[in-house]
Amino acid sequence: MVKKLLLVIFAFFLSGCSTLYNPATGRNEFIMINSQTEVQLGRSVVNDFIKEHPLVRDQKMQERALAIGRKVAFVSERKDIEYNFYVIEDKELNASTFPGGFIFMNKGLMDVLNDDELAYVLAHEVGHVAARHIAKKIQSNMAYQLLLGVAFAGTGSGSGENAQTIAQGVDTVYNLISLSYSRKDEYEADRLGVKYAYLAGFNPYGAINALEKIKQGEGPSWKILGYFRTHPYVEDRQKALKTIIPEVAKKK
């Protein structure tokens, strides 16, 4: 009953709103921030992030992430932003994705994954961006004024004033980014990730190997550390991937 009532309220709420057709998810969605605002929000947070997380100096490694990342992003449905891929000095097997398509791979992950596996991990992150999982997570959990404040700080027009508020906003975005994605979001990012990797010319079965390698590499506490803390439900996803991959490969 409560669920039904909530659905009615939700439908009523949507009726007066501008909705966005999201070709990645195939749904009409209500997204409060436009893409450029999402990019500025991301830029603001990334400027802070790279102060604490230096980029790897190995140019070849950066180029490898960029080249594979660009290939999988090129076939994604969301083309209104420019995707950026970087590698940071961190041995943990993890990846971080910020609003607006800023994707950071840890060196640890780059070291253990081959190109097909890396293509899946990057494409999964691109999937979260294309499906606007991050934008939705932020708009549903962050005070809108704070969100706009951080976004305008990214353009430079917010800097200097309310520095403390902006720092608080950046922290809020960090916290939201480090929250686990929902099961539904993970399945969706996997489906998109496998599709993008395959369309970009990589072996889609790299997805299964990548998850297994990350599990092995993390050791006994793999569920609560690193990659699977933000991208959980791994056993269910591994099962689902065995169905998704042949479906995706058949569609081409």
Partner: protein, 152 residues
């Protein structure tokens, strides 16, 4: 100087052509184009964002031009703006920030839209607009009706 004159002209025109009223956002008065009526007000859970939507029986382009002149003339900082025949911007002046969206009303499909989905949107056509926020809304508008949405 030129834009200030245009804004002044638009304000005078707005006053002459109907009741002028404004929406107060964080203490700032934002002009509502003459003839607009309040369609919906709501608060988004979690972000506490207030969403206020007006409807006006004026062409989309006229409404967009009105608000572009208003924002430019009043020196607002704007992220994005007009794109693919809609207007979608985050705006800021001093400590006042909000989002403004102007888009065609598609709540009731036109008679020529019969056979399409109730929302008047066709996924096949929407795909052509895939780089556009609010993409499908642009494709099948109710003739003349324009929506103005403020989020803050």
């Amino acid at each position: 100087m030129k834009t200030k004159i245009i804004v002044l002209f638009l304000i005078i025109l707005n006053i002459c052509s109907g009741a002028l009223y404004a929406l107060e956002i964080s203490g700032m008065q934002i002009m509502i184009i003459a003839g607009a009526s309040l369609k919906k007000q709501s608060i988004e859970q979690g972000s506490s964002a207030r969403i206020v939507t007006y409807e006006v029986d004026k062409p989309l382009d006229e409404v967009i031009s009105f608000y572009e002149a208003f924002l430019n003339g009043d020196s607002f900082s704007v992220i994005r703006g007009r794109q693919n025949n809609i207007f979608d911007a985050s705006v800021k002046k001093n400590n006042v920030m909000f989002s403004l969206r102007i888009y065609p009303d598609v709540s009731k499909p036109r008679s020529s839209d019969r056979g399409r989905s109730p929302s008047g949107f066709r996924p096949d056509k929407a795909k052509e607009q895939e780089t556009s926020d609010l993409g499908p809304r642009v494709l099948h508008s109710n003739a003349g009706k324009t929506m103005i949405q403020f989020i803050w």
